[in-house]
Symmetry: C2
Subunit: 157 residues, 2 copies
């Protein structure tokens, strides 16, 4: 169990593109349950996979339960039970003692880049690197679960 | 992963009550997702717990994925995410080389007793003990997921 507290930001793409980055990790994920009150996600990160249950977001916090599952079963769960999928490359960037997770989306969410920082409390202070832009914590359109049903490509269409 | 193939029967209660039974196991379970196409169940059996994802039933078969999870997390998942719960005592009875699982329900399903036998194929032959009554495989009212929302006490009300 855990309470997940995180804040989410858009990026200044020019500054991000100029950054020398570590190697990213390819993530494939889908939702077995995609409901405002709870989500059940299956995520594959290369050779490992997880099943994650998350509660409703209150402020920047939500309940989260995560279980590692066999890779082959994760593929079957996505194939049989998921209603939409996301693909993205995740970069982990250390900055001033904290780790930023930057997701570069592809497919129907191509062009979207989002950075998240996990905090120990909702009022924890942290420094933003120069490539961090406007905050979008709490904006439901940026929820990964929403991006499977209302992807970035449709936002300005 | 597995394909679960099982058949379900009601019991002759008199014959069942006369049977000398092994000690039963107390089960508490609820559904995080309860939908005709898929269910996600949390089950606590005394000191152990599991998260189980099942697909739609076709004949006597369905896809099933089961993961053991920590007991405390199972309790939190039931408290936070389940919309209805079932309590029952499960007896495992060996008969002619097969194991029957007999569930004696309590609470809103008090009075209901159901026996299940897991098979290797849909046409596998097996012997029924004398306390086995009419078959109810495929009758949706007897699905455990249904019994949380439409319990036995309401059937004849």
């Amino acid at each position: 169990m855990g309470i997940e507290i995180e804040r989410k930001f858009l990026l200044h793409h020019d500054a991000w593109n100029k950054l020398v980055k570590p190697v990213g990790k390819s993530l494939r994920q889908g939702y077995i349950l995609n409901d405002p009150a709870k989500t059940i996600r299956v995520r594959i990160a290369e050779t490992k996979a997880w099943l994650t249950i998350k509660g409703i977001t209150l402020g920047a916090s939500r309940l989260e339960y995560e279980y590692e599952i066999p890779l082959e079963e994760a593929k079957e769960l996505l194939d049989n039970f998921s209603e939409g999928e996301l693909d993205k490359i995740r970069y982990e960037i250390d900055y001033q003692g904290k780790t930023w997770e930057v997701d570069v989306f592809s497919g129907d969410n191509d062009g979207l880049i989002v950075a998240e920082i996990e905090l120990l409390s909702e009022d924890e202070d942290f420094e933003c690197p120069e490539w961090i832009g406007v905050e979008v914590t709490g904006d439901k359109r940026y929820y990964n679960a929403s991006l499977t049903t209302y992807p970035f490509k449709d936002w300005t269409a």
